[in-house]
């Protein structure tokens, strides 16, 4: 009777020990695995930096002017050059508004139609006024604005802020 009892407990002990060691190995593998899969998703964009658009003299008074600039960015192991298009508006030649040309609805590129005095998005017929506010169509909010600064008559915008 006594012996019988002992046998069962020995078996149970081995089962528990096997389970515990197996569980430990599982955890040692699972934690790095989750970090490995999720890691890049948690990484923030590259920190903000000022990007030169061009001379302020290029901006027409009262009319949005398109500037294109190339920004180097790294995704994963690939360094790529992306073209960033920005509409710049000034009413007095001193204060500048820099608007993103990315529609706030679903990310199509908007175009300035000077005849109508509106930005137009071809994807879903959205229209924004020259300050980027929504005139008509589905966009939920005005066009994004970049912070601007002028140094030596050169116009800069803050990207990644």
């Amino acid at each position: 009777m006594e012996e019988e009892k002992e046998k069962v407990s020995r078996r149970n002990f081995l089962a528990i020990a096997t389970g515990a060691i197996g569980g430990l190995i599982g955890i040692v593998m699972a934690i790095p695995a989750v970090a490995y899969v999720v890691g890049p998703a948690l990484q923030r964009r590259s920190q903000e930096n000022w990007v030169r658009l061009g001379p302020t003299s290029k901006v027409e008074l009262g009319n949005p002017t398109l500037f294109k600039t190339v920004v180097e960015s790294q995704t994963g192991w690939i360094v790529s050059e992306d073209e960033v298009s920005v509409y710049v508006l000034t009413e007095d030649g001193r204060d500048f508004i820099a608007l993103s040309n990315i529609c706030t609805h679903l990310g199509c590129r908007v175009r300035w139609i000077s005849d109508q005095g509106q930005y137009f998005c071809p994807c879903h017929n959205a229209a924004f006024d020259k300050f980027g506010d929504v005139v008509s169509g589905p966009p939920p909010k005005p066009l994004d604005q970049f912070e601007t600064k002028v140094e030596d008559d050169q116009l800069f915008i803050l990207l990644g802020g």
Partner: protein
């Protein structure tokens, strides 16, 4: 798993019979050398898990292979660990497979009625070697490149069929993007499929035949 739920599930899928057949089967009195097969199986499982994780970032083209491996090792959290386990696990696989085989040979465990188990085991050894050979190229560094040049050349010296084999392995005259892609495809699709088939059969036979006892002198 609570007993109640275990019973509920057993009535429906009959898992207890399978569980008992695998884990509660009768075995003769054996020694630690008999764990080498299980050890090989464990490392194979580890290789499968870490290998699947590596494919999440690895890209098998000459443009990206090296850089994506560097990215895994230096940028991805725990990437060095996942790659490290896969790297050392590969050597462990070959080592354990061979040791397991040596045990089977030394104890005469390949004899009647276990000949077919032995043959599937030999197949598994070849699959393991194939994994090692194709996986070695994938980091696409100098060592990988030249080792595969040499490895395919060795296949090429076989009389008559050597040249065609070399060309099929490389996917052309030279070691190229085609070679990398087919080594990758073989490493992650062909060999794992073969491994699963052979391993399933191998283990079915181990369970069906039971394992052999340590032979005694004069038997």
């Amino acid at each position: 798993m609570s007993v109640g739920f275990g019973n509920w599930l057993d009535e429906r899928i009959g898992w207890r019979k399978v569980w008992d057949a695998i884990f509660l089967r009768k075995i003769p009195k054996v020694n630690w050398f008999y764990t080498l097969g299980s050890a090989t199986l464990f490392v194979a499982l580890l290789q499968g898990i870490t290998g699947i994780l590596l494919t999440i970032y690895y890209v098998p083209t000459p443009d990206h292979a090296y850089d994506s491996v560097q990215f895994i090792t230096t940028q991805v959290p725990a990437g060095w660990f996942i790659r490290g386990v896969h790297h050392w696990g590969a050597s462990a696989m070959v080592l354990l497979t061979v040791l397991h085989m040596v045990r089977v040979i030394m104890y005469g465990a390949y004899k009647y009625p276990r000949e077919v188990t032995w043959f599937t085991g030999v197949g598994l050894l070849l699959v393991t070697m194939g994994f090692g050979f194709t996986g070695y190229l994938l980091p696409w560094d100098q060592k990988a490149y030249w080792a595969t040049i040499v490895g395919t050349r060795i296949a090429g010296v076989a009389p008559f069929i050597g040249e065609p084999i070399l060309r099929i392995m490389r996917g052309g005259e030279d070691l190229s993007a085609v070679t990398l892609a087919r080594f990758f495809g073989t490493h992650v699709w062909v060999l794992p499929t073969l491994l699963l088939l052979l391993l399933g059969f191998h283990m079915y036979l181990v369970i069906r035949q039971g394992i052999s006892a340590v032979p005694k002198r004069g038997e």
